[in-house]
């Protein structure tokens, strides 16, 4: 049960980290200090998103299949369902974080 409880929080924690990093990257590229070029921003953001999305897809798969195939209590099934849904919502939200960087040609759109 402890593992499943963490499984509920992990995907959204990863979303939060991903969001913070994308925000930091955009700020680094678009603020007066201009630390990053547009190209570096896009490539870094894409790599970060790919990594995060891969992990979230893995968690999605893991919570959708009963890997250890042992009978589960109703509590465990319920937490597993919650974990699957948080993984799905987080995956969609993570991909959404990348959209502005991919779609917009520059900081000012």
């Amino acid at each position: 049960m402890t593992r499943l409880t963490y499984a509920i929080a992990k995907p959204v924690l990863l979303w939060a980290l991903h969001f913070a990093l994308i925000y930091a990257l955009i700020s680094a590229a678009c603020a007066p200090r201009a630390l990053l070029t547009q190209e570096v921003l896009v490539v870094t953001a894409a790599v970060l998103t790919l990594t995060a999305a891969t992990l979230q897809i893995f968690w999605l798969w893991r919570t959708s299949s009963n890997g250890d195939s042992e009978p589960q209590s109703s509590d465990e099934l319920l937490l597993r369902r919650a974990a699957w849904w948080t993984a799905l919502i987080s995956l969609i939200a993570t991909l959404a974080n990348l959209m502005p960087v991919l779609i917009l040609p520059g900081c000012q759109g």
Binding site: L78, L79, R81, T86, S90, G109
Partner: protein, 845 residues
């Protein structure tokens, strides 16, 4: 015994510390739990008393803020009205927003949480009753400070968001902004203490067998809300302290001429402000999810979906703050990121709403008054959510910005998402508070007056906004197409107010004439209805084992006999102490017996000391500030100087199971409280770091020209922070050892290390002029912040050492070492990061 296991001493019961140092022998179970009478009632720390105080005080603030709203609407009823002058109008709308957001909504949810959590999870009281009482008094005194500004003709007038530069001393020279900053920051102590209390109470004091998955759904909502408060409130607390420091001391955090940035305030404010909306909404939605199954007669549809939705909302709602800043000139790419996140949060919100709708579809709901308010919530909140998706789109947002469309949207969200569920909850749980039922007939009138009045008042505002009427204007010329809409809005607000007044009338009426509530009057499934709702001082004679999420529906042994005869844990009151069960946070398995404090004046005295300190700051009476804080320090010392009850085993009443009292274990409720406190502390620290990074990134010239801190001292501080961290690890291990005296060395080492770390950080930053630039001022703020925490570490370590030296600590009673270990490790990390920042930051010397 491994380190993770509890250290307990299985002594015979006649051994000197196997009983309870502060028991009340001779008193029965009922007498022990009785609330004190007369003036001593103020010393009560029971969750029933404190919860009701929060609810009543919060509702009084609701009426005050509602009255201010009526003044606003009366001013706008006709064009060119002169009912209020523009300065008074500014004060009125500012105080309306401030009171509603800080002194009504959050305290009301705290009131429900404080009152309901123990009853719903099967505890006899909240896990930290004194902290709850202390939080209430801080809230009360803070609210009085804010409200007293009217008496001094210095009511804040800068909007509930206190934007700079309007709120700096250049443009607000009187004390109005100080009243806001000091009063609200003080009142927020209640919010953060409530967060710690809610987290520890829900995770650590549930009935035997109540696993996470068997908790009432409201507990998930409150748990997520508490974590959100812990992370969401700190940015505003830091922002308020920085702004007050600028006003009081002249430090240039937001001063453009010295490299400050007004947008930094907006970031800090909305980092709090947007999650705040969800902090208000989520508990209300949790109450809906609790009430709905009762009236449908079926369990909540999709408990797992709802858990996923609430956890997701808790996180995603933090990625939305800049959508309040779309018109400030941020890079379009940033705006689009926040727009995307704002749209994404609609997904879990939608999942949750569909859970409610599916539950409704499962049966034929009984249309009682709480159910009407639930339907009102669904109708209004969904409309507010849809306009929320509209204003999340950058182009539309720019068009609707600062117009009445936004006023309409936010009231649909907040009144729909909080006020309607709250009224439903008041009707639903009123028997818990008064033992009587409110009138169904009057309740229907209340609902329809509020529902019709609300929609008339606020739906019109969408149209007024789309016709271009800006917010916060005290009057408008006729003939712009706004006249009739404003008239209708004002009439609607009067109808809404009539509904609220009718509720107040019914409340007083039912106290005398309402019918006595029977046991479980609504036929609910949750544990708070186990006993007849004629309020006793205690919650459970014996704490029952829980095997279902709907125990009153699925466990017949709970309802087939009088409640006091139900079997369960802790029936014998061996040590004549207030106590409840402590559990494993995940599985709900019994872990310990938690001893709870009896009535005490300490919370009131401590909060009064702090109020004196804060209030005297406003009056610039600095000797009185010192007196106030000295009183508070004395209060805190009396608070912590408790004889320990750890280290003893007692029968649990569950078969042969014997449990330790106040166990020394990382799963202890006290350890969870420290973890929660350090989470808040880390969020405070992160807010300051964010301020520094933000200025470094947006004001590079000032970052480069600010002289650096002294590198040698900063390097040494970094090294000492590692030592303090290691001492924290040693203190953790020491908590599980049998020898007490040698641990004094670790305590003293921690005190010394903390002092050295503070001194080195000071030596490092002392060459930097805090008035030279905003960037330098943030450097000093980092030092002041860490120094405050180090001072607490020194004080705490010395108290621990002194207690051991005078023999107040025996083997198995070194829980404080476990607690300070976690504290010291986090403080060491913060100190180390500050030192690292000093090494890396700054430009030419």
């Amino acid at each position: 015994m491994t380190e993770r296991q509890a250290y307990v001493v299985d002594l015979p019961e006649d051994e000197s510390y196997s009983g309870s140092a502060k028991g009340e022998p001779g008193k029965s179970f009922e007498r022990i739990w009785d609330a004190p009478q007369g003036v001593r009632h103020l010393s009560s720390v029971s969750h029933r008393v404190v919860g009701k105080r929060f609810l009543v005080t919060g509702f009084v603030f609701f009426l005050i803020a509602g009255f201010l709203a009526l003044l606003v609407r009366t001013q706008l009823i006709v064009p060119d009205n002169t009912f209020l002058d523009s300065e008074t109008y500014n004060q009125v709308f500012t105080m309306h927003g401030t009171i509603m957001m800080f002194l009504f909504a959050i305290p009301m949810l705290e009131g429900f949480a404080v009152h309901l959590i123990p009853l719903m999870v099967g505890a006899r009281d909240l896990v930290f009753p004194r902290l709850g009482a202390f939080g209430y008094y801080c809230y009360l005194f803070g609210g009085i400070i804010v409200l007293s500004s009217f008496l001094f003709d210095a009511a804040p007038a800068g909007g509930w968001f206190m934007y700079v530069p309007l709120s700096t001393s250049t443009y607000t020279q009187d004390l109005s902004a100080d009243f806001w900053l000091i009063g609200i920051t003080f009142a927020e102590i209640a919010s953060v203490t409530a967060a710690v209390e809610i987290i520890a109470a829900i995770l650590c004091t549930r009935a035997p067998g109540m696993s996470l998955a068997k908790m009432p759904i409201l507990m998930w909502y409150l748990l997520v809300t508490a974590f959100m408060i812990a992370v969401g409130f700190p940015p505003l607390i830091i922002g308020s302290i920085l702004l007050e420091a600028e006003r009081l001391l002249g430090l240039p955090f937001f001063e453009v001429a010295l490299g400050g940035d007004p947008l930094l305030w907006q970031h800090l404010f909305w980092l709090f402000g947007h999650p705040e909306v969800y902090i208000i909404f989520l508990p209300a939605a949790g109450m809906v999810a609790t009430m709905l199954p009762t009236f449908v007669g079926k369990p909540l549809f999709g408990y797992g979906f709802a858990v996923a939705a609430v956890v997701s909302m808790g996180f995603l709602s933090f990625g939305l703050w800049a959508h309040h800043m779309f018109a400030t000139g941020l890079p379009v790419m940033s705006l689009t990121l926040f727009s995307a996140a704002s749209t994404m949060v609609a997904i879990p919100t939608g999942v949750q709403i569909f859970c409610f709708l599916a539950t409704l579809a499962e049966g034929r709901p009984r249309m009682s008054v709480p159910m009407l308010f639930i339907l009102g919530f669904l109708f209004i909140f969904v409309l507010g959510g849809l306009t929320g998706v509209m204003v999340a789109a950058v182009p539309f947002n720019l068009q609707a910005h600062d117009s009445y469309f936004v006023v309409a949207h936010l009231h649909y969200v907040l009144i729909g998402g909080f006020v309607f569920p709250m009224f439903g909850a008041l009707y639903y749980w009123m028997p818990q508070f008064t033992g009587r039922m409110m009138s169904e007939t009057l309740g229907r009138w209340v609902f329809w007056l509020m529902f019709i009045g609300f929609n008339l008042a606020f739906f019109m505002m969408h149209l007024t906004g789309l016709r271009g009427m800006p917010r916060r204007i005290a009057s408008y010329p006729e003939g712009l197409g706004w006249d009739r809409l404003n008239m209708l809005s004002t009439l609607g607000s009067y109808i809404l107010a009539a509904g609220v007044l009718l509720f107040v009338f019914d409340f007083f009426r039912h106290r005398r004439h309402g019918t006595q509530a029977p046991r479980n009057p609504w036929g609910a499934a949750t544990l708070e209805w186990l006993y007849p709702p004629i309020p006793p001082g205690f919650n459970f004679h014996a704490i029952p084992e829980i095997r279902s999420r709907e125990p009153l529906w699925d466990q017949p042994e709970l309802m087939d006999r009088p409640a006091p005869e139900i079997d369960g844990a802790l029936r014998p009151c061996t040590d004549h102490r207030r106590e409840t069960m402590g559990n494993d946070p995940i599985t709900g398995a019994p872990l310990q017996i938690v001893r709870l404090p009896h009535p005490t004046w300490v919370p009131l005295i401590t909060a009064f000391g702090l109020a004196l300190g804060f209030g005297a700051t406003l009056a610039s009476l600095y000797w009185l500030v010192a007196v106030g804080f000295a009183i508070a320090l004395a209060g805190f010392t009396a608070w912590v100087w408790e004889p320990s009850d750890s280290g003893v085993l007692r029968d649990s009443g569950l078969g042969d199971l014997r449990l330790p009292v106040n166990v020394v274990d990382p799963r202890s409720h006290l350890h969870f409280a420290v973890v929660g406190t350090m989470m808040i502390s880390a969020a405070l620290f992160a807010s300051l770091l964010f301020a520094g990074l933000y200025l470094w990134n947006t004001q590079p010239h000032w970052a480069e020209t600010t002289p650096p801190a002294a590198p040698l001292e900063a390097g040494l501080a970094l090294g000492v922070s590692i030592v303090v961290f290691l001492l924290g690890l040693a203190s953790h291990r020491a908590a599980f050892t049998a020898k007490v005296t040698p641990v004094i060395v670790i305590d003293l080492g921690l005190a010394l290390g903390s002092a050295a770390l503070g001194a080195l950080l000071f030596m490092s930053i002392r060459t930097v002029d805090p008035y030279g630039s905003a960037y330098a001022a943030v450097g000093w703020a980092l030092f002041a912040f860490v120094a405050g925490y180090l001072a607490v570490a020194i004080y705490w370590s010395l108290v621990n050492a002194l207690r051991k030296a005078v023999g107040a600590v025996k083997p198995g009673q070194m829980l404080p070492n476990l607690l300070i270990a976690t504290y010291a490790k986090v403080v060491a990390i913060m100190g180390g990061m500050t030192a690292a920042a000093y090494l890396l930051a700054g430009g030419a010397a």
